[in-house]
Amino acid sequence: MALLEVVDLRVTFDTDDGVVQAVQGMSFAVDRGRTLGIVGESGSGKSVSTQAILGLSPGARTTGHAYLDGVDLLDMSESELQSVRGARISMIFQDPLTSLHPLFRVGDQIAEAIRAHEKVTKRDAHQRAVEMLGKVGIPQPDRRARDYPHQFSGGMRQRAMIAMALSLHPPLIIADEPTTALDVTVQAQILELLAELREELDTAVILITHDLAVVADVADEIVIMYAGRPMERASTTAAFTEPHHPYTQGLLESIPAYSARTGKLQPIKGNPPSLLRLARECPFAPRCPHVREECRAAPPPLKPVGHSPGHLSACVLPPSRVGLVAPVAPALDAPNPDAPTADRPITEAPTADEPIGDDPIDDDSVWSGQV
């Protein structure tokens, strides 16, 4: 059984302008020792979906199920949730300066979190706080525990947040954009630290980010969200090498590193829809290069696609049509140990003069013949 399993989560907010449908039909699961990446642009519902299951979004109306070790978090009372937050699921936020109290010493804040959940003496709690600070790589932890947050650099504050999140050894950590405010060199340190601690403590991690490169680096599985809906769910390798949903493909083609610098970037046309006025159609339909009649009727459900198990996509395109299509010939220089073999043929790319974007897909056989 998965450690956390979220089923058909829906979150709405009543506002003066109408009902905001922040999350609709979100489902995911994460196991011990694994990292799940939730990726999406601003307003896609990636943060709300994890905050709502912990009762951290005031004013939200939440339906669905979120089973933590089989117990539904959404049925819990506030005091029951309080015993879960911090002890069994803890969170790391983007901005460590605003999530640490500026007037309390760092060590005391960690000790307080420990004492809120466990009956230990102040001295023991403080001792454990110092140990945790040392574990996350803060030099001279006994001295630095007496510092205030402003005396820490950005990377150190994020380490302190991680120390606090880990101090009760929770089986699940939710990291919401943990490295977005940091420089790349410090981001590399923090990601490395998270990976080490996950291994050592067998913790499950949910990593929420807008940065595809970060999830590519650390996640085992990813969910790609758009306008409050999961668009694609797959192992990280499958999501990046055999994306199915046109939105995922669009995202990958928008990244400069992907389209070799000689080529032009292929941006997704238009803007994300307003969550106040969502039409009945697939939310991506207005921007989708492959939109068809059936997309307008209802948002397609997640269904299995591609060749790897657990690869789901909410798109009506034929399930076998996966892969990024770049109009270039494969380089012939180095032998590729992962080269496709007879029993595992590659998805063939169309030639340069028939890019899929301009080609209405009415002939499915073009694709299904290859796989």
Partner: protein, 361 residues
């Protein structure tokens, strides 16, 4: 990208910019100074895009402000088309300013929320007495069309536009007087990926159409690689390395550049069969108030030796790279170094097309 015609548009010679911090309340005497830019010399050539990268606090934005004459240099010389603009009077600067414009990071903070787009974009024409009345309106609407905004939105307020559209307004404003040089300070970092690509394409298209020269500042190294012809890497107020984009990304000579590049997570799963070596730099950037002696990078550098602690290296040519490629290091990274393996590999297009199904991570 575009062919550079080689003429030097903007030249900085040993430019420094420092700010007083911690002044005494009564005497006004300073107790400390931040050396944000400390001895930078570089040339921006007509028609090129010069990328400027570095971690926060390395002085790249301060350098941008000095380049655009928004702030005077503390010492050194800034010249635009051979004319010294370092100490020009405000009035004299006006003619420079129409030739050197800036696009800012925050499309929310850089547009006055109480003014309509038409008035924001009409401002440059008004300030420089270029056009008025109907003619100004016509020019503004032309401008809106050029950057992909609908001219009917002339009377809207900035709040009625999305982040990407606002950045288009910021670009239109910079473009209004047909400048020769535009300094873009993190123009896409506040935008979502799909919108970011739209703006990057716009910036490139405008360069082709109007023959613009760009200085492009960003912390996102993939974005800089995509747009730049040459790249300068800054560390603590100085240039660590400068050179053609492919040499910087393909064969970085400065250990800092190599470490910086290795820290960037790359969406390139197909190459995971040989995962990039990663150099994790210890600690953070030291304070610019009291920078380390000798080479500023030595406390974090895996190759540091005694001489690095004592002598500050000068920016100069290095072996086996082109003469365009300068590095400030006593012991530049060599092919056989572990650090060289850490630098970016060329992402060959084959990694995109040959899709190894179920490749192992």
């Amino acid at each position: 990208m575009t062919e550079t015609d080689g003429g030097v548009l903007l030249e900085l010679t040993d430019v420094t910019k420092s700010f007083a911090v911690k002044t005494r309340v009564l005497t006004g005497r300073e107790r400390a100074r931040v050396h944000a830019v400390d001895g930078v010399s570089l040339q921006v050539r007509a028609g090129e895009t010069l990328g400027l990268v570095g971690e926060s606090g390395c002085g790249k934005s301060t350098l941008a402000r000095v380049m655009t004459a928004l702030q005077p240099a503390t010492s050194g010389r800034v010249s635009f088309k051979g004319r010294d603009i370092t100490h020009l009077a405000r009035r004299r600067l006006r003619s420079i300013r129409r030739n050197v414009q800036m696009v800012f990071q925050d499309p929310y903070g850089s547009l006055n929320p109480r003014r309509r787009v038409g008035s924001i974009l009409g401002e440059p024409f008004a300030v420089h007495g270029e056009a008025s009345g109907e003619e100004r309106k016509r020019k503004v609407q032309e401008l809106m069309e050029v950057v992909g905004l609908s001219p009917e939105h002339y009377n809207r307020f900035p709040a009625e536009f999305s982040g990407g559209q606002r950045q288009r307004i910021g670009i239109a404003r910079a473009l209004a007087l047909r400048p020769e040089l535009i300094v873009c300070d993190e123009p896409v970092s506040a935008l979502d990926v799909s919108i970011q690509a739209q703006i990057l394409n716009l910036i490139e298209d405008l360069q082709d159409v109007f023959g613009l020269t760009y200085v492009f500042i960003a912390h996102d190294l993939s974005v800089v690689r995509h747009v730049s012809d040459r790249v300068a890497v800054m560390y603590l107020g100085r240039i660590a390395e400068i050179g053609p984009v492919e040499e910087i990304y393909g064969s970085a000579r400065h250990p800092y550049t190599a470490a910086l590049l290795s820290a960037v997570p790359v969406v390139d799963l197909a190459s995971n069969r040989r995962r990039r070596e990663r150099v994790i730099l210890q600690g953070g950037v030291p304070s610019a108030i009291d920078p380390p002696t000798g080479c500023r990078f030595h406390p974090r550098c895996p190759k540091a030796q005694q001489v690095c602690r004592e002598v500050e290296p000068e920016l100069g040519p290095s072996e086996s790279v082109s003469s365009e490629h300068l590095v400030a290091c006593h012991f530049p990274v060599r092919r056989e170094d572990a650090l060289a393996a850490a630098a970016w590999e060329e992402p060959t297009p084959s990694k995109i097309t040959t899709l190894p199904a179920g490749g192992q991570r």
